[in-house]
Symmetry: D2
Subunit: 132 residues, 4 copies
Amino acid sequence: MAYQIQKSEMQHCIDLCKQCHDICLKTALTDCLRVGGKHVEEEHFRLMLNCAEICQTAANFMLSNSALHNLVCATCSEVCNACAASCEQIGHMDECVQVCRHCAESCEEMAHVYSLRQSNKRPSGVPPLMHS
Amino acid sequence: MAYQIQKSEMQHCIDLCKQCHDICLKTALTDCLRVGGKHVEEEHFRLMLNCAEICQTAANFMLSNSALHNLVCATCSEVCNACAASCEQIGHMDECVQVCRHCAESCEEMAHVYSLRQSNKRPSGVPPLMHS
Amino acid sequence: MAYQIQKSEMQHCIDLCKQCHDICLKTALTDCLRVGGKHVEEEHFRLMLNCAEICQTAANFMLSNSALHNLVCATCSEVCNACAASCEQIGHMDECVQVCRHCAESCEEMAHVYSLRQSNKRPSGVPPLMHS
Amino acid sequence: MAYQIQKSEMQHCIDLCKQCHDICLKTALTDCLRVGGKHVEEEHFRLMLNCAEICQTAANFMLSNSALHNLVCATCSEVCNACAASCEQIGHMDECVQVCRHCAESCEEMAHVYSLRQSNKRPSGVPPLMHS
């Protein structure tokens, strides 16, 4: 099958979500608060914490082997991309940008692969998918 | 404007997300575990906890006034509907079914209204929306 | 028994924890970030988010009817008191101060009442308690 | 100083908390639910999820460099020990037992070292410590 997914791919995505959560939370609540200025600009700072939270939730859905993790991964991918763009605009946040982009890519892959699989074989009680 | 949203509508959705989180978490970890049988069936039980978590995350995005709460609300709406369907199938879970459905409706509304608004006036650094 | 606790007392503590979580998270990520200055001072701002998180965890332990909720409530009480003191020092944060203090008191009560009860009748597999 | 703590010790504790969170959440919501029987016994199953949650919160407090992480680590240590004891009693859960014990030890160390340091030099606005 073209869209067979390996267990290790999901574990890879979990690892990236956890890494992205950690760096966003830690950077925001230590470096950004200490430096101040544009680093505590409202939209940017909030986005870093939102990104940390959705990454945590996506990781938890995958850890629990949720049949709906693809939905959370799709959302996580978009929030991570927005956070990467915001960090890029602020500048001097290369590590955050890179980690957010990697996480976004991996989450997008998880979202699409599972949506494709589920559109062929949809379990009962599960609603239509966003990306199908 | 047709899609003007009131502050109180968001607060209403926050309240429903918190109510849905509470009832799913509490019911799963007290009643379902005590009764056992089909109430701890793998897919069903996991879905109740997944539902509690995404409701918590959606509420937190809205509390923080996140510009991307619509994405989390869209996902939350689908998870709540799946949870309601699963609870309905198990039977004798009328309160959960009702609360999940109300939360799903409110979240879907939040997702759509904000997607419409943002597709007209999209802030910089924010990616294309799922529902546009 | 002197230290009989009513179900409604726990529900009252859950409600206060949720209220404290909401006001700390919302105030920090909207008002404090918008106003800036001393409101985004490192220790203070971080404490508000730490307070929101421990309140959420304490509420979740109580919702799940955890036998160890008294430990989390004890910690939550101390974090809430620290947050109240910090908000008082910043000034113009009367609602936060008041809500944190109420939550701290309720959590402290939950911690002590349950520790007393459990020191008389300790379930197997549960370690010695902090407050006994 | 005798109780100087290295940055890497905190990172080590964060890593153990995350590992403990992951294994407890994953084992409960996949293996335990699939196997059933005593693995979904009320007190035991709930404790595994409580353990996952407090580990997540402890990790988040440390990632944010919270001055009060020692309080959460103290509580986390007790919950992890209770979870290890419960898993030991259930049997065939060696990995969970081992990871919970390691996390409990590391958290206890973090709790004590920081309490000692803070009892000498207590920051303003921070309440008396549990372990002092």
